[in-house]
Symmetry: C2
Subunit: 474 residues, 2 copies
């Protein structure tokens, strides 16, 4: 098969092609932006869901599942929220041949489905905090160009919703959610940026929005998750209240936490290369492929050695497959590399005699080990692979950032870090550089050692100035 | 709290009340028939999904996830199918303020979403068999009275879809699916009936439909799953074809397999009693509750003994909780019985001294065992509980069946087994007994020892006569 398009020069051609050839999604479904999760894609998505659950449940979130449809009357209760989604909501108007009395929205997110119920569930301070999440499809009628995982009309979505006694408790939750997302992205080897959206770009109805943005090359960034603090905006609109320990009625504060399938898009976009997908081990449907090398003719000793290696790994909980087909080893390597398998084990006569394994990871690094310690040898190789993947991604990230000093122009080919006074009039000046907009103010300076005191790039003010990001959000 | 309504005399009052008090669902959501999966309900549903997956994946089904929406143009390709669902489909007509060119159906089931893609996926005999499943929400605009789990408008649904070389291979799949469902229901302690729906009541578009029906008391039955053989009806409508090994184009044969949340409704309805829910251990969110018995004042020795027992069970993978609250033991028993926990362990000074456990299962059977063998003692107690639950359910089932001999009238208070010649004119005569209809022809005679050769109850013919079921399907 021909080579993949060049990722650096033609990112989206590369992206579309790698998705199609690997078979991780099928976008030939007859509705634009609604794609099929193939067996391969679904396995990956399930592993990603499992990773999210593993980091969420220790925070005492409990899983729920709310209806997909929301009556228009409930949907319209919070004014900013409905304004934000008015152009994007799919409406159900008929049941059979009957026109419905009240139109039903396909949830674009579930605040307006959940909060009427929260108003019934929360009565007393003893009912708080309330923390629930669901992993469901949400729907947005996107009019921009759709792209698998990145901009779709049916979105596989994790949404966490919490209710707290007061603002302080809610903002503590925001910090815990952020920490959990840092753990999730660490496991996925995805270093990224964290920032607070400017007021004109926060989630509709939120008091503030913290976003996680992934630089993808050039000035492009992808929002991969958000945590919002709602204050009591929704609680007031939906009549959520509680009786405090003195018997007074209070209005609680709320947060939400959202992670969409874009996170999988970010894995593909960040780690993928000229050979195809590259999966961090935690979500790789196949972590290890074992390929017997037969030379001129099939060798039953090698074949059963390979089968035994796969059995041992599988029993140890390592997702492993044996590729015992008749294809040439080179063709097998090509196919498994395309599918992003972290580790390949090659076993021939030499390995059989030495009772050893030869391992090649998806970054091309070779190592060997003893069969006697197979499980730990392979676990260590996977951990080393993840670490190398993280380091490579971090280097790529750093190369995509550019700090703009006073008097310098913004760089349209980078993610820019600039001083900003916080006023909208200055923030909007970012947009005079084609393609760029103000992403938000920097919340995490880990990738920016030695930042000086900021001054606004546009008005020069230092008072109240903070570091902000300018980029081209996808 | 007052007693639950009497299950035998007022089944639906009992059913609604037990669901509400246990908190397994919340039906106060502002759309009739669309209920909230609460944390408790969601945990149960996840365990049920896990059970289904564990019996499906050995049959080489692979999980997928297709879009929720189906273009009207695709939906209308199979004539019988659309006729069957025309009154029940929710239609999306608008995206934002824009009227859509092609209306979109919220899937009532996914044949018409999947099969256009199967037409792309299947090219050669080497692509067959194709076996996929998904666990998703499906939607039906029900106009009859809705009831949680039993008749809802958003349905949590397992659907398996297969494509085969020919009818023989497809019908082998039907048998394998049936066997897997027998395993699932055995684990849920749900004996039931299996029958083939009459032609006028088969799934729209199917060649034949095998249904699993659960007698619920009186003449009531609940369809808890179906397996359908489609022959090539859908394949022809959706242009699914393959090239056989001689290069000739062939049309494949298809099957489907559906299990809805009704299966959870059947668990509630069959096993529940005057104290509340009763869960078989495989789907019990809490399998064991450990309650320290303190007497007049809290005893730290007993408290830490109880905590240690829970730790040991949890480490062994048994879903266990410690109820260490200040409530009286009796109030605790009441609460956990309501939630259907299979096994309660009571630990007081006596047990601490003897290093033993006192166990009471949800059917009221008491046993004791040694802490030294805690894990196996508890595993055995759970297995014995499941066996007792199965036996009780089987006895109930047998008491709900009635074989009708020639010349006898149908019994409107039982599920009737009668001879039937197979003609619609005779089959429809069942309906002259108020509430009853012909459910189908008996596929499994396990519950009917010594059935003689049948003769039609209505025309007396023996030629072609089979045993059939008459009941009041919910």
């Amino acid at each position: 098969m021909s080579e993949l398009p060049d990722k650096e020069r033609a990112f989206f051609e590369w992206y579309n092609e790698v998705l199609e050839r690997s078979g991780i999604t099928d976008k030939r479904y007859p509705i634009k932006g609604m794609n099929v999760w193939t067996p391969f894609g679904q396995k990956t998505a399930s592993l990603l869901d499992r990773l999210i659950r593993s980091r969420i449940e220790p925070l005492h979130y409990e899983e729920v599942n709310f209806p997909t449809l929301i009556p228009e009357t409930e949907f319209r209760k919070e004014g900013e929220h409905i304004k934000g989604f008015d152009e994007q909501v799919y409406w159900v108007t008929h049941g059979g041949k009957t026109e419905l009395d009240v139109k039903l929205a396909l949830r674009p997110t579930s605040e307006t489905a959940m909060y009427p119920m929260f108003a019934l569930w929360v009565r007393s301070h003893r009912d708080l905090p309330l923390r629930v999440y669901q992993i469901v499809s949400v729907f947005r009628y996107e009019t921009k160009t759709t792209r698998p995982f990145i901009r779709v009309r049916e979105i596989h979505f994790f949404e966490g919703h919490t209710v707290h006694l007061d603002g302080a408790a809610a903002e503590t939750q925001v910090r815990e959610d952020i920490r959990s997302f840092e753990e999730i992205t660490r496991a996925l080897c995805l270093p990224h940026l964290r920032d607070r959206r400017p007021d004109w770009d926060k989630f509709p109805g939120a008091h503030y929005s913290i976003a996680f943005d992934m630089p993808l090359g050039g000035s492009k960034t992808l929002q991969i998750a958000t945590v919002h603090y709602y204050r009591d905006n929704f609680a007031r609109a939906y009549g959520i209240g509680y009786e405090d320990s003195e018997g007074n009625r209070q209005v609680p504060h709320q947060t939400t936490y959202g992670i969409s399938e874009r996170l999988l898009g970010a894995v593909v976009a960040m780690h993928g290369d000229a050979k195809g997908l590259v999966f961090p081990s935690v979500i790789a449907p196949v972590q290890v492929v074992v390929i017997p090398i037969f030379g001129k003719e099939r060798n039953e000793g090698v074949a059963s050695f390979a089968a035994e290696v796969v059995r041992t790994l599988t029993n140890a909980g390592i997702r492993s497959v044996l590729d015992d087909s008749d294809e040439r080893p080179g063709a097998k390597y090509y196919g498994w590399e395309l599918k992003g398998v972290p580790l390949r084990i090659e076993l021939g006569r030499k390995e059989l005699e030495a009772q050893g394994v030869t391992m090649v990871n998806r970054l091309g690094e070779r190592a060997s080990g003893s069969v006697a310690e197979l499980t730990s040898v392979v676990r260590n190789a996977l951990a080393a692979f993840d670490q190398a993947l993280w380091t490579r991604a971090l280097n790529q990230l750093m190369g995509r950032l550019c700090r703009i000093a006073a008097g310098q122009p913004l760089d349209p080919e980078k993610v820019n870090v600039l001083g900003w006074c916080g006023r909208e009039s200055c923030g909007k000046q970012v947009e005079s550089t084609p393609g760029l907009s103000l992403l938000g103010t920097l919340e995490d300076t880990a990738h920016f050692e030695g930042l000086p005191e900021p001054a606004c790039l546009f008005c020069g003010k230092t008072e109240g100035a903070v570091w902000a990001l300018a980029a081209r959000p996808l």
